[in-house]
């Protein structure tokens, strides 16, 4: 395989493996479909240009995530969208859920968007991107202990808000 073909194959593997998760991550960061798509496209454009710098493909997820976060911060940090597309983006998928579950999931989504960024981002890194607490700590530049506290509090807040919504039957009181 030529080096250009090999490079292309490597890029396509990264696009297939992480494109969806990176879109979800970006979407939950900015709450806007068009902007999330734009961030991910820009991320992959930068990745394509800098692909030779990625020596170890096993490190690709963290590498791409760093680009996404940088791109998001650079472009949209001071221009948070005023309206969230989250409900509309997932509507088709949700039609398969039972009505009660659909309501609970929609409420949960709203509360996730309402979390302060310092709680939301570690939660997204863990649940959407599959990062460990150690990896999150490294990415965010904080201690593992701080990450665990933020994750604990994020879940605690979500459960509390669901209970406030009257979803107590489906939320348990372990925290």
């Amino acid at each position: 395989m030529s080096s250009e073909a090999s490079r292309l194959a490597k890029f396509n593997r990264l696009a297939s493996a992480y494109g969806t998760d990176l879109y979800r991550f970006a979407m939950w960061l900015c709450g806007n479909d068009a902007l999330a798509k734009d961030v991910v496209q820009e991320t992959y454009l930068r990745a394509w240009k800098a692909l030779d710098q990625l020596q170890d493909e096993a490190a690709a997820k963290g590498w791409l995530l760093t680009i996404v976060r940088r791109e998001y911060a650079r472009t949209f940090e001071r221009k948070v969208p005023l309206f969230t597309d989250v409900d509309t983006v997932v509507l088709t998928e949700d039609s398969e859920l039972e009505p009660d579950d659909r309501t609970e999931v929609r409420l949960l989504r709203r509360h996730i968007m309402g979390l302060a960024p310092k709680y939301r981002e570690p939660l997204l890194l863990q649940t959407v991107m599959g990062f460990s607490c150690e990896e999150i700590a490294m990415e965010l530049g904080i201690s593992k202990s701080a990450v665990m506290t933020q994750l604990f509090r994020a879940r605690e807040q979500l459960k509390s808000k669901l209970q406030d919504d009257g979803m107590a039957d489906n939320v348990h009181g372990i925290f």
């Binding site: 292309l8 890029f11 396509n12 696009a15 297939s16 494109g19 969806t20 879109y23 979800r24 979407m27 806007n32 479909d33 068009a34 798509k37 734009d38 991910v40 496209q41 820009e42 992959y44 454009l45 394509w48 240009k49 472009t75 221009k79 969208p81 005023l82 309206f83 969230t84 597309d85 989250v86 409900d87 509309t88 983006v89 997932v90 509507l91 088709t92 998928e93 609970e104 999931v105 949960l108 989504r109 996730i112 997204l124 649940t127 959407v128 460990s132 607490c133 990450v147 665990m148 506290t149 994750l151 604990f152 879940r155 605690e156 979500l158 459960k159 489906n170 348990h172 372990i174 925290f175």
Partner: protein, 241 residues
Amino acid sequence: MSMEFSEFRRLLGAEPRSRDPSFLRARDSSPEFRAAAAEADSFEDKLERALALQAPADLPDLLRAIPGSAPSVVQHRRGLRFAMAAALLIAVGAASLTWRMNSGWDSVQDYVADHFRHDGPAMLALATREPAAVDVGAVLAEFGMTASPALAGIVSVIKTCPTPDGKGVHMVLDTERGLVTVIYMPGTAVPDGEHIRFDDRDAVLVALRSGSAVIVGSESQQVAGLHELIQASLVPGGGST
């Protein structure tokens, strides 16, 4: 050494899917631990389901196209960032209309049908289920536009969306004719009053003082009757960011 329940709860809240051996042993160490673990698993399932947004169907194709068309992607992005600047350069009611689209649609008619099929019904459903206060002025101000009180007062749902020439606005209006969709396209020139018919929908294009709009409704709603309201009510003003 066995794990304290308080420490176990802390780990459940922080990393419930942990595969750490001591954590896994603790999960099954007593009925109390097992119950807490089961409850945490149940919540985690819901959380994962809530976070699992459906990615756009065209995302894989867009990403795979990047190596072959990097310059055009850059161009598209610039178009998104500077849609406002582009809109200012478009002559209002231009006699010569350009159908060159940046985002893959052959014409504005294709765009309207494609866009509406993508999320039109979802937005209408959202408006039906969830009438809520929306900040119409703030969203439109991003594009240097404003809506008259008559228009702003009937907007049920509003969001930004892609248009043929950059970011625009997708609204659902609660009118006397029922719920009607309006898409504002800041950088697109259209033939004023032209009808578009697709599926069971009737749409009418509206040339505005800045950019354009399309009104989409069912064939029975006679959306052309809203042309005057949109043209008079969606006007430059309100500042932009």
